[in-house]
């Protein structure tokens, strides 16, 4: 990675973090998420444009507030309907400006904001999107595509959820113990969804996703500190650290896709893996064992290759078995089939793959890629060819597409 890319990444990460810190800070005091976003949106855009070139300012929050200052006053002045919120917004802007220029660390209310977004009074379909937008700064169109709904529908859903927070006056606090674990699941899901969005963009080509993975890891650390006795918060952090550790090995210098089994283990980040192992071991001492812990354990078994030269497919298959029982997502079922193929041979893998409902996987690219690979190994060349073609057609990532095309032509070459 060259220095310019580094600077862009750092700037994007800092801008997003400072922006969401300010949104959370203003919203915590006015309860008006939409007004806080409106007031800061131009400043955020300006930061994304200028910081990569000029560098991240010494006090990023102060920079954003100074840029947003007129807008804050504007929003406050024109908003006669909700004048109490407007007056608070103005006061808060002044207070925040002092905060930002003082030596003290800027108060971080983002986790509180996440828990509000997961409030049971919010429409269940709006919770995760709301978190992605308010805390991670993703736009409605990007979120809509991740949730397979029309951007206008998603936009409306988000607007309604923010109005509910403001008008019904949902408490801006981390919930009581009894409600905490229920809402924690939604928060962890959103953090993982954000990580996934950043993860898919392996090349770091999309500026809107830049730094999202690091941001998600940061939020998981925060969640873990907040609820140290919840093993799933640790499980999620460990899972993301294992995956992130492999980032440098996922593409060649030329940008070509490298499948996990072919990755150069020397490129994996040892410190990140060590931290993941430690966090996962801590989680293992707590009950119950949830989905994220199982997924992290699977990644841990994959990283065995760095020390023993071979991934532990026996344990990976066993762990997928538990995962498929705990959280039978399509991804888990496909992982199970792939691990069975490694552990017991392509026949066993194929049988597990065939058992997945066809309607679930018709347009799910990883299914077709795994299926093509297993068919090729079983010598069913014509079917493998067709499955590769489907997988290529469904691929979103150019490097993945090229990789599959290469596999398909190797098949033809016999």
């Amino acid at each position: 990675m060259d220095r310019r890319r580094d600077a862009e990444l750092a700037a994007g990460l800092a801008a997003r973090a400072s922006y969401s810190r300010l949104v959370a800070y203003l919203a915590a005091r006015t309860r008006d998420v939409a007004a806080a976003e409106d007031a800061l949106s131009d400043a955020f855009r300006a930061a994304l444009e200028t910081w990569p070139g000029d560098g991240v300012p010494h006090r990023p929050e102060a920079w954003l507030l100074a840029t947003a200052r007129n807008r804050l006053v504007d929003v406050a002045r024109h908003d006669t309907v909700r004048d109490s919120a407007a007056a608070t917004l103005r006061l808060v802007a002044e207070e925040a400006e002092e905060q930002a220029t003082s030596a003290a660390a800027f108060p971080d209310e983002r986790l509180k904001l996440l828990f509000i977004c997961a409030h049971p009074a919010i429409d269940v379909g709006a919770r995760t999107p709301l978190m992605l937008q308010t805390v991670l700064g993703l736009d409605a169109a990007r979120i809509a595509s991740a949730f397979l709904v029309a951007p206008a529908t998603m936009g409306q859903r988000l607007v309604r959820a923010k109005a509910k927070i403001r008008d019904a006056r949902i408490a801006f606090q981390v919930p009581e113990r009894t409600e905490l674990s229920e809402r924690l699941d939604a928060v962890l899901d959103a953090i993982y969804a954000a990580f996934g969005t950043g993860w898919e963009d392996a090349a770091g080509a999309d500026p809107r996703r830049r730094g999202l993975a690091q941001e998600a890891i940061w939020l998981a650390r925060l969640a873990m500190r907040l609820v140290p006795e919840e093993p799933e918060a640790r499980g999620l952090l460990a899972l993301m650290l294992y995956c992130e550790a492999r980032r440098p090995a996922r593409r060649t210098a030329q940008g070509d896709y490298v499948p996990l089994s072919d990755q150069d283990v020397r490129l994996w980040s040892r410190p990140m893996i060590a931290e993941a192992e430690r966090v996962l071991a801590e989680a293992a001492t707590m009950k119950p064992t949830g989905r994220f812990q199982l997924e992290a354990a699977i990644q841990s078994a994959h990283t065995m290759r760095a020390t023993t030269g071979r991934a532990n497919w026996g344990s990976i298959a066993l762990l997928y078995e538990s995962l498929a029982a705990t959280a039978p997502t399509v991804g888990a079922l496909i992982g199970r089939a792939a691990s069975l193929a490694e552990d017991r041979g392509p026949d066993a893998g194929m049988a597990a793959l065939e058992a997945i409902g066809r309607d679930l996987v018709a347009t799910y690219q990883p299914y077709w890629a795994v299926r093509a690979d297993l068919l090729a190994r079983l010598g069913r060349v014509a079917e493998a060819h067709a499955a590769y073609t489907t997988a290529i057609g469904l691929a979103e990532d150019r490097a993945v597409r090229a990789f599959l095309q290469n596999r398909r032509s190797m098949l033809d070459a016999g």
């Binding site: 008008d167 019904a168 006056r169 606090q173």
Partner: protein, 117 residues
Amino acid sequence: MSYVMLIYESEDALAARSDEERKEAYWGAWGAYHKALMDAGVITGGASLQPGHTGTTLRLRQGDRQVQDGPYADTKEQLGGYMIFDVPTLDAALDWAARCPAAEYGAVEIRPIHKME
């Protein structure tokens, strides 16, 4: 912040109000709940309503009164009463709603009160 708690009860539950065998338990629970609200100083108003079949619904259409026997919405659970109370947040309001006897056998809806400008 002012909220109204709309309390929905089935006809059968409302019948318990005057049923010899059930009325003591019914009113006992409501009495205790009301006292708790009074003691906390959060309640500012409210009323218990007669059953839905005693309701009369009126619409004015082109100057004509259209009067209809029965409640506005003919549903299994009817508006049985409401309370107005003052608490800082929706979460505090929901805590009170969870203590309402009807939450267990009917439903309660919390709505913020629209403030007149």
